[in-house]
Symmetry: C2
Subunit: 433 residues, 2 copies
């Protein structure tokens, strides 16, 4: 009796949790320029509040809004320009008394700090340069500025702490760093980012039928689609992947290949594809047994992918997944067993599916039927609006062409034997966020 | 009068088209293991049809279904097992006459080629091993197999050409290669993939206020968020990015920095952020003019991002984008001007927005207002179902914290001044597909 999917994936996550502490004890730092898509190894809180000081949002003049209250075109108000502050300058500091009763202002550029005045309101706001008239007194060489409408208190002033507060959380341990995290962390001055080391995965493709450049070949062999596909997805996920080549259906060769990988003592996961069912050539379960693997489960009630084998090869480190050989079955097992293992290993919560409405083509009857005894994962096409999903009809675990057109998976839980047009289903995007 | 967004982006795409032929003449090949996310440099058609030969979908026995038509539990039918074929073997070939009237069968494993018989139907189908009884004659050492129900014509047979047909298109010139393309190309035997060279981009951050490790600093400076963010997004997009550091607001320093980058004669795009508006410190437009740049436009009716400058520095190669300094404005200009340039350069069609329904929080009035004189790009949050989008209210081009929570942009075309709760809007995902 194969194991139910929900049970199997729980066992996968549990085994990953047993290795999590050891995995996470090896965190490292990387430059913020290379940190995108890495898993953060500790929650990050902003060390400062930003902006750290009040700055001008415009090019203009810092002045007291109170002094402008009576300004009008008939009765403009004049300020003496005491200096200029640009972004990157320290703030202008003036304690001058108003000369001849003319209040002071300071020319101030976007991003520049506000002047430090006698009190907090001596330069509370910025009047944009477009709204004033400038006059230079040729005798005294003093500059004056005139405006003809009142300014609002603190207008065009970006207040310190208006963006990040000190200790605001930016990202939580385990989260995958995205570009906006990069912007946020950079803006608060973080340049070396603590990240988990990349999970390390070894991949073998198995089968005498697989063409490999080292071997004599004949026209009844096939090309290996699994090695490149599994390597690509795991690399995109953020793993360090070694594709270790094709192994023939020969227990000794398989044993040697696995032992060689284990001897390097670096892999978190070793994967094979093919030779994992119960046929005469399916030597993977026996080989894993003979090299001392602890079997967690073999065969799961999922379609495609039921022959899946999950074992532990080294208690501290290396898990083993024996994926089926059919490319779409291998892809489903990678998506719904191996990635959950990696998520759990890195303290990431399980992926949540998205809801969508099943759309059945008009040409067929409006109900799709499924076998009830397995969880079914079917390649499907989500509409651009993200609302409707069509299951690809012409599918087979061995066919790569229909799978190429899919952009998501639909998950049909076991026990469901019919789904009507328009019913809610759960989908998982092709890639992963 | 700033230029309308639609006009501006057309000019951007037109300039990219002028450089497309030169850009695309430098394609290269890369291993299929590293080809994901690269832009393909020529349309790829399958060189073969797959499978190339008929194979078994099960472990079982290849035989003539006609010979089983009368089989029943009361009257089982017996076949002599003439041999075994596993995946990777050449097909069994037998021209033996049936011995003693006992028809022949061949043990055949999943993925193995069907036997070549006297005619096409001598071994048309496969009967799974679970459905037969095996008997060995100890005297003759011959093996026999008995089954007790009829088999269907061609059952469990994967027919040659059932997946890819020869010359089926896999991917079209310019498309970004995804993991499923990798699977498909691998399955038809492609190992070296023709890809465009990566676009090369130089990035400078400008501003005396930016802290840089080489400079003396004081507490009224800020951290550069644009360098790491722009580098990250462009790298994810598939560009080779050189962040060339921080340049102070000094025309000579800026000129030297740009000329040095141009002298390397390798960049498709040179980007700056900051100093591009009309203020006293905004020296970028003048510097681009003084080094002979051909201005295509300066200032666009978009919010954020209106100060954008787009010029051509070298007619054959280098385009220049002067992005605004506020991080969210720089991000919007990257997303809606620079990426369209790169798409056009690589023969990719313009990105199509996705539809979604605007969701206005219940606490506010059910209509959002916008200024009509610009195309507006607002960071927003798309619901997990992909159907509803909420515009982030507490936003500003200078604030990185609200932007961090966005997962998409909403585009509000100029001329629209109000949008009601539930109205259709166009969104662009945070990253890009």
């Amino acid at each position: 009796m194969p194991r139910a999917y929900a049970d199997a994936v729980q066992l996968v996550e549990k085994e990953a949790r047993r290795r999590r502490a050891a995995f996470m004890s090896n965190s490292e730092t990387c430059s913020i320029f290379n940190a995108c898509d890495r898993a953060i190894s500790e929650s990050i809180y902003s060390p400062i509040s930003t902006p750290e000081f009040d700055t001008s949002a415009m090019d203009g003049f810092a002045l007291s809004s109170v002094a402008t209250h009576d300004a009008s075109s008939g009765s403009p108000v004049t300020f003496e320009v005491k200096g200029t502050t640009t972004a990157g300058d320290e703030p202008h500091s003036t304690l001058d008394d108003p000369r001849d009763g003319v209040p002071p202002c300071v020319e101030i550029m976007t991003g520049a700090p506000f002047p430090v005045g006698e009190d907090g309101d001596q330069f509370d706001c910025c009047v944009p340069v477009e709204e004033v008239t400038l006059v230079q007194n040729k005798l005294s060489n003093r500059r004056y500025m005139t405006l003809s409408k009142p300014a609002q208190w603190r207008q065009h002033r970006r207040v310190a702490g208006g963006d990040f507060g000190q200790n605001d959380r930016i990202i939580e341990v385990g989260e995958r760093i995205n570009a906006q995290h990069i912007m946020a962390m950079a803006s608060v001055g973080l340049t070396k980012i603590p990240v988990m080391r990349k999970p390390r995965v070894a991949i073998f493709s198995t089968g005498c039928e697989l063409l490999s450049s080292q071997e004599t070949s004949h026209r009844f062999m096939i090309h290996d689609a699994n090695g490149p596909y599994l390597t690509t997805i795991l690399t995109k996920y953020g793993a360090d992947v070694d594709f270790r080549g094709i192994v023939h259906d020969n227990p000794t060769a398989m044993e040697n290949a696995l032992l060689e990988a284990l001897d390097e003592e670096k892999y978190d996961i070793i994967l094979t594809s093919g030779a994992v069912s119960a046929g005469r050539c399916d030597m993977v379960p026996g080989v894993i047994d003979s090299i001392g693997g602890r079997k967690v489960f073999h065969k799961v009630a999922v379609k495609p992918g039921h022959p899946l084998l999950f074992s532990v090869l080294q208690e501290e480190t290396a898990a083993f997944f024996g994926l089926p050989g059919n490319p779409v079955a291998a892809a489903a097992c990678l998506r719904f067993f191996v990635l959950p293992y990696l998520r759990s290993l890195q303290s990431q919560p399980p992926e949540q599916p998205h809801p969508a409405r099943l759309q059945v083509p008009k040409s067929t009857r409006p109900v799709l039927s499924f076998r009830k005894d397995a969880d079914i994962f079917r390649p499907a096409i989500l509409s651009p609006c993200g609302q409707f999903v069509q299951i690809i009809e012409d599918h087979s675990p061995g066919k790569t062409k229909p799978f190429m057109h899919a952009n998501c998976w639909v998950h049909i839980p076991s026990g469901v034997d019919q789904i009507c047009d328009g019913a809610a289903v759960e989908i998982y995007p092709r890639d992963f966020v």
